[in-house]
């Protein structure tokens, strides 16, 4: 240690004494300021990664540390989207199937509903009956 550093250390020991002898009021205000500052510390929820200043996203923590977990989350998401698409298609096919069954089970052949003459005869017959 150089003489300059030795002298500086001696000065700092004197300053340490001064810092230790702060007035009670000043020390109390510093303690209160510390408590207020601690209330501002961001709280990190376990299993969540902080985004920006205030929000959190539940995507499994730091993706740099857990790439497998992030990949797994994306795969689960894609699987969910695929399952939803398949389920919608299945529901629509079931509805169509029910309509087709009703048409086929009717006494009229399905082509009768496409015949304009038959439609006209139905309307004329129903109005004559009234």
């Amino acid at each position: 240690m150089s003489r300059e550093e030795q002298f500086a250390r001696q000065i700092c020991r004197v300053l340490d004494r001064g810092a230790a002898q702060l007035e009670r009021g000043v020390a109390e205000r510093l303690r209160a300021a510390r408590e207020r500052a601690l209330q501002r510390q961001p709280v990190l929820v376990p299993g969540a990664v902080q985004i920006g200043a205030g929000g959190t996203a539940l995507l499994g923590g730091d993706e740099k540390k857990h790439p497998l977990r992030t990949t797994l989350a994306i795969l689960v998401l894609l699987f969910g989207v695929g399952l939803s698409y398949y389920w919608n298609g299945f529901s629509r096919a079931s509805e169509n199937e029910a309509i087709d069954s009703a048409l086929l089970a009717d006494v009229l052949p399905p082509n009768a509903y496409l015949d304009k003459g038959f439609q006209a005869w139905l309307e004329k017959d129903s109005s004559a009956g009234q």
């Binding site: 000065i11 004197v14 300053l15 001064g18 810092a19 300021a33 510390r34 501002r40 510390q41």
Partner: protein, 187 residues
């Protein structure tokens, strides 16, 4: 990320020195307390999720910026004079107080003052001498020796080169030695 306990312990350990640093710079108790409070708030809010090992340097950067902001907002004529010499022309000053400094290793009133009165008087004289230093010299001296930052960290906290830190520290130490010697205190 620093835990609440780590951040609390760090602030408790540094708050008194931070207050004194601010007080030496602005010479106003309320302003010094405000500066320290704002610095602690900012550290906790903006950098509370950083590792505990990064807190000392981050805090000193925030604190020094807060002190400089205070200078900019409310510098008096006297402060303007000292800050001009410190911020702009200090490196150009060729004066070398080292030539006038004679250290005497045998006598050390710092290590063993005889009475409480002598201790108090020594503290007052040292603090007065510190307050009279140009701000950048005082800043470098306190960061380097009182806060225990190395030269690179001090340079980062002050926003200057490592060479400037060495120059500021050397001049501060020698100026203090000369000033205290004039008061009859010889390290």
């Amino acid at each position: 990320m620093a835990s609440r306990a780590e951040l609390s312990n760090f602030l408790a350990e540094v708050e008194r020195r931070a207050y004194k640093q601010a007080l030496y710079a602005v010479r106003d108790e309320d302003a010094a307390l405000d500066i320290v409070q704002d610095s602690m708030m900012r550290l906790s809010e903006k950098y509370g999720d950083r590792p505990a090992a990064e807190l000392p340097l981050l805090f000193q950067r925030i604190l020094q910026n807060a002190i400089r902001d205070h200078y900019r907002r409310s510098r008096t004529k006297a402060e303007r004079f000292t800050s001009l010499t410190a911020f702009e022309g200090d490196d150009e000053n060729p004066a070398d107080p080292l030539e006038t400094l004679e250290l005497n290793d045998d006598i050390s009133p710092f290590a063993a003052p005889h009475t409480a009165l002598l201790r108090a008087e020594t503290l007052t004289l040292v603090e007065e001498a510190l307050q009279k230093l140009p701000p950048r010299q005082r800043e470098a001296f306190l960061l380097r020796y009182w806060e225990g930052l190395d030269i690179a960290e001090t340079a980062a906290a002050m926003g200057c080169t490592e060479g400037s830190v060495k120059t500021h520290c050397s001049r501060a130490t020698h100026t203090l030695a000369v000033a205290l010697d004039a008061k009859g205190i010889r390290p």
